[in-house]
C-alpha cells in the first residue's frame, strides 16, 4: 500500500514539474525579462492611442479594453459559460419550492433567527458599504483596476453576510427571491448580447461594421459608441458591458447563495413528500 502511494506521489511530482517546465521554458521560451511579447506591446500601445485611433479602445486600462474590445467575443462566450454553470446549480434544486413557512416573519427575524443584535447591526452597515464599493468598482471599471466581474464578486459578499447574520428570510422578505435573481441574471446577459448586436443593426442599412465593435475605424462606417467627455469618460461600450456584467455576476452568485442556504428541514420534507408519491 505504501509502495503504490509513493509511486503515485512520484508520478504526480514528475508530471507537474515536466508540464510546468514545458510551459515556462519550452513553449514560450520566456523567463521574466525586461520586455513583454509583441502582442502585449500592441495592446499597451493602442489602448489609449490618441494620435492613431485606428485600433484604440478609448480606455486607459489595458486589461479592460482587451477584455471587452480586443478579445470581446471571447469574454462574451465566457459569460455564457458562467451562466450555464449557474443554471447547472439551479437545476439540482429545480423541484424545490420555498415558501416562507413562518407566520409574522418580520417579528421572527427580529427575535429568533440570525445572530446577536451587535452582529446584525454591524452586518447591515458593512453590507451597505459593500454595495456602494461594488457599484464604484463597476462604474470605474474602464478607468481603474476593476470591472464587471470583480464588482459582481464583491457585491455577492453582501448577501452572503446577510444570510449568515440575519437569515435568508431577511432577503426573501425584501423580495430578493430565487426567481427574481434568475430574472436579473438573464437581464444582465441579455443587455450584453444586445450591446453586441447594436453595430449589426447598422449593417442592415448597408454600413460596414464588425460585431461587438466599440470605436470607429477608418475602414468601417460605424460611428462608434460615444466616448464621453473628460469629466465623465465612459469609453464607449465598455461602460455598458461592465455594468451589465456586474448585474449578471452579482445576481448569479446571490442566487447560488440563496439556494445554498436553504434549511435542511425543507429538503427532508420535500424528500418525504416525494417518496410518499
Amino acid at each position: 500500500m505504501r509502495g503504490t502511494e509513493l509511486i503515485v506521489v512520484m508520478c504526480t511530482v514528475i508530471l507537474i514539474v515536466a508540464v510546468t517546465t514545458a510551459v515556462i521554458m519550452g513553449i514560450t521560451a520566456y523567463t521574466p525579462g525586461p520586455e513583454v511579447r509583441p502582442l502585449a506591446k500592441f495592446y499597451l500601445e493602442n489602448c489609449l492611442n490618441l494620435w492613431n485611433r485606428a485600433y484604440w479602445a478609448a480606455s486607459p486600462e489595458a486589461v479592460c479594453s482587451m477584455l471587452w474590445d480586443y478579445r470581446g467575443i471571447d469574454t462574451l462566450y465566457e459569460t455564457t459559460v458562467f451562466f450555464l454553470a449557474i443554471i447547472g446549480g439551479v437545476t439540482v434544486f429545480r423541484l424545490i419550492e420555498v415558501t416562507p413557512p413562518l407566520e409574522s416573519l418580520s417579528e421572527k427575524i427580529r427575535r429568533v433567527l440570525g445572530l446577536s443584535v451587535i452582529v446584525r447591526t454591524i452586518s447591515k452597515i458593512v453590507a451597505s458599504i459593500i454595495l456602494i464599493v461594488a457599484v464604484a468598482i463597476a462604474a470605474h471599471g474602464h478607468l481603474t483596476p476593476g470591472g464587471g466581474f470583480q464588482a459582481g464578486a464583491a457585491i455577492s459578499v453582501a448577501p452572503l453576510m446577510i444570510i449568515i447574520a440575519l437569515s435568508r428570510y431577511f432577503l426573501e422578505e425584501r423580495k430578493l427571491t430565487k426567481e427574481r435573481m434568475l430574472a436579473l441574471r438573464t437581464v444582465g446577459l441579455l443587455t450584453i448580447w444586445c450591446t453586441v448586436i447594436i453595430p449589426l443593426i447598422f449593417a442592415l442599412v448597408g454600413q460596414v461594421v464588425y460585431a461587438m465593435q466599440n470605436q470607429a475605424k477608418p475602414w468601417t462606417t460605424f460611428p462608434g459608441f460615444p466616448t464621453g467627455q473628460l469629466s465623465t469618460w465612459i469609453a464607449g461600450s465598455l461602460f455598458i458591458y461592465n455594468m451589465a456584467e456586474f448585474v449578471a455576476v452579482g445576481a448569479g452568485f446571490t442566487l447560488l447563495f440563496l439556494l445554498l442556504s436553504l434549511p435542511e428541514e425543507v429538503f427532508r420534507e420535500f424528500m418525504r413528500r416525494l417518496t410518499r408519491k
Binding site: 525586461p34 502585449a40 486607459p60 486589461v63 449557474i86 478607468l143 464578486a153 469618460w233
Partner: protein, 130 residues
C-alpha cells in the same frame, strides 16, 4: 538580471509548482469529496497565479493602466516600456469568476450526494450502487 533576482524568481516558481503538486496529490488520493473540492480550488488558484506570474517583467514594472486620460507621447512610450504584460491578467480575470461558479456547482453536487447516501467518502458511495 542580478543573481538575487534570479534566485527569488526561481524560488517563486518552485513554491508554486510545489503547491500544484500537493493539491493534485490531494485531488487524487483523498477519498472525501469535500477535501477533493478544496484541493481543486487550490489547484485552480495556483495555476492562475502561475499564469499571472508569467506576465511579470523585471525592469521597474508598473500596472497596465495609463494614469491619465490626456497622456503625452513620451508618457505613452514610457508606459509601453514599463507596464507588465496585460494578456495573462485578462485571461485569469474571467477564469477566476468561472472557477468560483463551477466550485459552487460542485458544492451543490456534494450536498446532494450527502443527502442521498449519508456519506462523502467516494469509496463508500461507489459501494452503495445508487
Amino acid at each position: 538580471m542580478s543573481m538575487l533576482e534570479f534566485t527569488l524568481l526561481m524560488y517563486c516558481y518552485a513554491a508554486l509548482i510545489a503547491v500544484l503538486a500537493i493539491s493534485l496529490y490531494g485531488l487524487v488520493r483523498r477519498p472525501n469529496i469535500l477535501k477533493k473540492i478544496i484541493c481543486l480550488s487550490i489547484f485552480g488558484d495556483t495555476a492562475n497565479t502561475l499564469i499571472i506570474f508569467l506576465g511579470f517583467r523585471t525592469r521597474n514594472p508598473i500596472p497596465p493602466i495609463v494614469p491619465t486620460l490626456t497622456p503625452t507621447k513620451s508618457l505613452m512610450m514610457e508606459f509601453t516600456r514599463r507596464a507588465v504584460d496585460p494578456v495573462p491578467q485578462c485571461l485569469v480575470l474571467t477564469a477566476i469568476v468561472i472557477n468560483m461558479a463551477v466550485l459552487m456547482f460542485l458544492i451543490f453536487l456534494a450536498i446532494q450526494i450527502y443527502r442521498h447516501y449519508g456519506t462523502l467518502d467516494v469509496r463508500k458511495v461507489a459501494r452503495l450502487r445508487g
